[in-house]
Symmetry: C2
Amino acid sequence: MGLDNNARTAIRIGIVGYGNLGRGVEAAVARNSDMAVAGIYTRRDPAQIEPMGAGVPVHAMDSLPGHKGGIDVLVLCGGSKDDLPRQSPELAAHFSLVDSFDTHARIPEHFAAVDAAAQAGRTTALISAGWDPGMFSINRVMGEALLPDGATYTFWGKGLSQGHSDAVRRVPGVAGGVQYTIPVDEAVAQVRSGLRPALTTREKHRRECFVVLEAGADASAVRKTIVTMPHYFDEYDTTVHFIGAEELAREHGAMPHGGFVIRSGNTSQENKQVIEYRLQLDSNPEFTSSVLVAYARAVHRMQQAGQWGCKTVFDVAPGLLSPRSAAELRAQLL
Amino acid sequence: MGLDNNARTAIRIGIVGYGNLGRGVEAAVARNSDMAVAGIYTRRDPAQIEPMGAGVPVHAMDSLPGHKGGIDVLVLCGGSKDDLPRQSPELAAHFSLVDSFDTHARIPEHFAAVDAAAQAGRTTALISAGWDPGMFSINRVMGEALLPDGATYTFWGKGLSQGHSDAVRRVPGVAGGVQYTIPVDEAVAQVRSGLRPALTTREKHRRECFVVLEAGADASAVRKTIVTMPHYFDEYDTTVHFIGAEELAREHGAMPHGGFVIRSGNTSQENKQVIEYRLQLDSNPEFTSSVLVAYARAVHRMQQAGQWGCKTVFDVAPGLLSPRSAAELRAQLL
Ligand SMILES: NC(=O)c1ccc[n+]([C@@H]2O[C@H](COP(=O)([O-])OP(=O)(O)OC[C@H]3O[C@@H](n4cnc5c(N)ncnc54)[C@H](OP(=O)(O)O)[C@@H]3O)[C@@H](O)[C@H]2O)c1
Ligand SMILES: NC(=O)c1ccc[n+]([C@@H]2O[C@H](COP(=O)([O-])OP(=O)(O)OC[C@H]3O[C@@H](n4cnc5c(N)ncnc54)[C@H](OP(=O)(O)O)[C@@H]3O)[C@@H](O)[C@H]2O)c1
């Protein structure tokens, strides 16, 4: 890691924000020999941040503008709710970048703000990379394009949902807990068979919570508050397990996730075709970060080719993600 | 079908060769409202060809140059062995086109010949679309780019292999037959678990043949000739079933196929990630044709944008495959 080994040609990555994704990006860059971490930028005190790689510099956010000449692409690792809506347009005015903005409903406005900044700054800024949005989105678009007479299904899980875990932890009487989203097997089987079932929210996913109670809390009241919580749980079949604090720490500290995008359709009356894209992730943030880093490579190439403005995964040709040359890809992977 | 409904804006497709793929392209265009079949072109007597769509014109190949003004993209449906190596470069000099060239080892030379013609003619010619090469290739490239520390596995089947079926039918004493390629369940399970096993040819796939004997043929001699056939069967575990001619016609007339591309890798020492792309196809040629037609849309757009020369699926951004606008894709599918 660092800029020493491949300083002349490496794509220089600036990491903005050092949480789960930030650490994942550092790990992913270390696995890509054509890239190097130029620096980590944080809103916290840089002295408090300990990067994994020896010699990776940590800087305060306000030193970023002065480092412009030493960075090719920023990977933004802030939260979608409060950080990226401000950071991405602000930084796209000066830097090419990738973010993982995942508030699906607000993508058009995020795109517009980032596009204005990137067009003005002649940078290339790719938003909403990751797995959903990201790889799942690509498979939704391609599935529909290849099988226009068909139906698309997205299933999530089995995986830890950060938002639902937070909601569980806010319930009075809960000392700690996590929530897993789980696809319903029967629904997945029906979809895979090409039947194109109409499925309700309840039929597609179920939810499972592992909860540590505060001393003296009423388990049945907590359970009821969880399973009837509007928006989060009321439309699902939810199971609540009460466990001890040690078991929570020991068994539920990881962030697995994944899921499927399935497109089934007909190419003639008699012939059904099924396309399935599936992810099984031990670590949601590490995989998301790996996607961000591959897209940082593509962004760098697009910026150099004069393809400025805001982009999404829909605008990126697959070959741009690979460190290999086009001729090598054709000869070896086509 | 035909050009009546959407004559002003439809992408006008010329179908070159009317075999399995040619018929599939006609069916696929009928399912895409922004496209229309301008004509079918054949080396046989056009009067002998019966298109599925009423009013779809069938022409002799040599009338193609004269129809240049009425065609946006040709979809070449000839065979990879003898037809495409000649037809694709010849036609790319005058037309934008898509082909499904699938002789993996000869892709670089096919690319070079088509690229020279397309650059000179300012056309856009995309080679080797379909599912393998094609969708599977995209998933091999993206899997490797997203998980550089990993291994990629391609499994084919369960599906009918045309080449192996032909080989079986050439065995003395065989009156008819088909061959299915089948992934070995244990190998798929190992790969899905993220173990990155080293697998031999025999461990990955097995082969199953359904054979009708000629009157008086020696079953055990036929079986032995098949299972020991160099190159085709000797490296596999092969099962041969002898059946009657009626059963062959009734049960084995379809062309199902499919398979998986699985990339498994680590993003850190402790975390494994598995990406799987899977196709289950009732009809191999109809699905391949649907892919060709979606890429014909992308080729038309790339030609109009001045992106001339030979292309592959690695050069095509996913959004170009969809009839929807970029803004609509971002708002609805990202
Ligand atoms: N597209 C996808 O598929 C996908 C998948 C997963 C996640 N995401 C998105 O990624 C976003 C970030 O996820 P994350 O798991 O990396 O969030 P996180 O760990 O909470 O980090 C977010 C930011 O909070 C700050 N932070 C981190 N640890 C902190 C601490 N101990 N104290 C104070 N501040 C801290 C960091 O900024 P500073 O260093 O500047 O303080 C960091 O950039 C999510 O909001 C989600 O929208 C997208
Ligand atoms: N990339 C992929 O995933 C993928 C998948 C499947 C197949 N493929 C490729 O697609 C190629 C074409 O496959 P296909 O199944 O369409 O082959 P096919 O049915 O044998 O047709 C090939 C050509 O043969 C001629 N033909 C068809 N029926 C005929 C008949 N009854 N008598 C005489 N000539 C006839 C047609 O040309 P005329 O009309 O000019 O006579 C046709 O274009 C294969 O070679 C394979 O390489 C690629």
